[in-house]
């Protein structure tokens, strides 16, 4: 109660920091690595073509810059994948759904069932090979307020989707 001017004692409310979060499936790290590898190969091909065809790059030190920035981007990306993976976790509480992520900048995003408009399950080609899927929760929020939980087992994702749809089925007093 040190910061809010509310009659409800905030310390009695369910606290976001005490949520028991479940880590996403371990195979999801493999998915991320494979996706990283594919993108890296494509980028490497583009970089190679650039250096091969633009002769100006080879005569000056331009190729060092191109190659250097390629390596920098790719390695930083991998570092972020490896470092942030252990922190990725989700939770379904009584009245909301939460997802935690990040490494340098960590975030915990929580969305009440009350505000969820729709809910879907998506799986990319690599995810499907590992029988994984992402759960996407849509809200009416304007800029990127949707919640995406990746790295769930397909059955788990479907189950969660059913559960959340069941939770949101009753709009209280509006028809929309």
């Amino acid at each position: 109660m040190a910061y809010l001017n509310t009659q409800v004692d905030v310390s009695t409310l369910p606290a976001a920091e005490e949520i028991e979060l479940r880590p996403v499936h371990g195979d999801y790290l493999k998915v991320l690595r494979i996706e990283w590898l594919i993108t890296t190969l494509v980028l490497a091909a583009i970089t190679g073509l650039l250096i091969y065809f633009i002769s100006g790059l080879r005569q000056t030190y331009g190729w060092v810059i191109v190659l250097g920035s390629f390596l920098l981007i790719v390695s930083t990306w991998l570092l972020f994948i490896e470092k942030s993976f252990p922190y990725s976790a989700y939770a379904i509480r009584e009245k909301d759904v939460a997802y935690r992520r990040g490494w340098v900048q960590r975030s915990l995003k929580i969305c009440p069932f009350n505000r969820i408009q729709n809910c879907s399950v998506q799986a990319g080609p690599v995810e499907r090979r590992f029988r994984l899927a992402s759960l996407i929760v849509y809200t009416a929020g304007a800029d990127g307020a949707d919640l995406r939980i990746p790295g769930l087992e397909q059955e788990e994702a479907d189950r969660l989707r059913q559960f959340i749809l069941g939770q949101i089925h009753a709009p209280q007093d509006e028809t929309i």
Partner: protein
């Protein structure tokens, strides 16, 4: 007013053809302007045919044909509680909008509409997808009747425009003096830089094309280096003032706010008269702001942040100039009365925010960019050092001014650097909450909070972690409450 039979396919009135033609022509010019410019600039070849005329005739002909098709194949009708709009000849397009999904119907009049005494109707729906529709031209009585019909399906409590056809005495209007005050206090700095860079670029280009043209200006001043610049600045100041005045008059001429059953009806504009309905329940949060001149003059610009993709595009945002202090609490109270904050606990931005901003947006970019600039421009690049402290200075002002009051039903934020912005948000309008921490914030026990609403997000930087957690918990508690509706 004779009753209309909406179940039969309706055409637009013939006067609408002019509007459709004008729109088509405008689109054609927008699409082909490079081509047109190229042809126009080409020196006339004595022997060959006059391409300018041929081109003009072709474009005009195609435009007339295309506009005619657009006009003739446009139909709309109401069928089984749905508005159906059909258009197109070769590529047919049908839009079906269930009436209960219609949120608001806006009426708009451009100069051509005014001349022909017709109106344009835009229909806004609650969907996240792009389901808006427009009817380019309608006679005034027909438009009123259609609006009535479109909104009549909704329940009495949802109906936004019950007494629409009888606008009462306007609640708020602007006098010419108010408009002048608004013009003088407009954000000149922004307009100034736009006009200045434009004119400077023009001056430079003219000089490179034709030295004689600008030598007139240059000869006015003996010292060539500095005086033309001063002259430019003076000229730009004049133009800026004129531009600001014109912008204010274009937007707010004949401005009036009427109270209707569940919201406001706002109209205004000089050539392009716009009329909008703001349903109170659709308002997600309210903000009012003033730059430092306006703060001194006690002028505020109030904004209702409304849900729906249509409104979020800045063109459609709803600004209400407040010229009398008494209007502000009155208009905000429609959303929620402005709470008194005296003696209440407030959440403030942590002072380390200043240093971090200086480091991340001032010092770091300087360390990266300065060596590169040095390599390219030598000692001139030291001018870049003037920029380095700016983010820190801005952060200092932001940190000093920021206040957040968390109350039972609402959240009030006061922030700004030269000016001041107030934001009033009801907890129940929140869609999602994020709590974020960088490495530095984790060490210092700080966090940032982002509150997402259907009309945009509110970002609260660098507050105490405990305060951030309390905000998050309380926001979720209020949003999850059974009776809390956001629409």
């Amino acid at each position: 007013m004779k009753p209309f039979d909406w179940s039969k396919p309706q055409k637009q009135p013939w006067a609408g053809l002019a509007v459709v033609f004008a729109n088509t022509l405008w689109e054609a010019i927008k699409g082909l302007w490079v081509f047109i410019l190229l042809i126009l600039l080409k020196r006339k070849d004595e022997s060959g045919p006059d391409w300018t005329q041929i081109l003009a005739i072709i474009i005009l002909f195609l435009t007339v044909v295309s506009a005619l098709f657009r006009f003739l194949f446009f139909r709309f009708y109401i069928e089984e509680g749905k508005l159906v709009i059909k258009k197109g000849w070769l590529k047919k397009e049908t839009k079906v909008i269930p009436l209960e999904r219609i949120q608001t119907v806006h009426v708009e009049q451009g100069p051509l509409h005014q001349l022909l005494s017709i109106v344009k109707l835009s229909i806004d729906t609650a969907g996240t997808q792009k389901t808006e529709a427009t009817i380019e031209a309608l006679g005034k009585p027909m438009a009123e009747a259609l609006r009535e019909e479109l909104l009549s399906v909704q329940g009495q409590e949802n109906k936004e425009a019950v007494n629409n056809s009888i606008p009462g005495a306007p609640s708020i209007t602007l006098t010419d003096r108010d408009l002048l005050k608004l013009s003088i206090s407009a954000n000149h700095l922004e307009a100034f830089f736009i006009v200045f860079s434009f004119m400077f670029g023009l001056y430079d280009r003219l000089r490179s094309i034709d030295d004689d043209l600008v030598s007139g200006v240059d000869n006015l001043f003996p010292d060539k280096a500095i005086y033309p610049v001063l002259f430019l600045i003076a000229a730009v100041l004049m133009v800026t003032l004129l531009v600001s005045t014109a912008r204010v008059f274009l937007r707010f001429y004949n401005f009036a706010v009427f109270r209707v059953n569940n919201g406001f009806r706002i109209r205004g504009g000089l050539f392009n008269v716009k009329e909008k309905l703001i349903a109170s329940r659709k308002v997600q949060y309210v903000s009012w702001r003033a730059n430092w001149i306006r703060k001194l003059m006690r002028l505020w610009m109030l904004e209702y942040h409304v849900s729906g993709g249509y409104e979020i595009k800045s063109k459609q945002r709803v600004h209400l100039p407040i010229t009398r202090p008494a209007y502000l609490p009155m208009l905000v109270a429609d959303y929620y009365p402005i709470p008194a904050t005296g003696g209440l606990l407030s959440i403030r931005v942590h002072p380390s925010f200043i240093g971090r901003r200086l480091l991340m947006f001032g010092v770091l970019p300087t360390l990266i960019i300065l060596p590169l600039m040095w390599w390219a421009w030598g000692a001139y690049s030291l001018f870049f050092l003037l920029y380095t402290p700016v983010p820190g200075f801005a952060a200092l002002l932001i940190q000093k001014k920021f206040r957040l009051w968390a109350l039972d039903d609402v959240l009030l934020v006061k922030r700004g650097f030269f000016g001041e912005t107030h934001i009033l948000l009801q907890w129940q309008k929140i869609q999602a909450v994020s709590i974020r921490q960088s490495i530095y914030q984790r060490q210092k026990g700080l966090a940032s909070v982002k509150l997402d609403t259907a009309a945009g997000s509110i970002y609260i930087p660098y507050i105490n972690l405990k305060a951030a957690r309390e905000l998050t918990d309380y926001a979720l508690y209020k949003a999850s409450s059974r009776y809390a509706s956001w629409l």
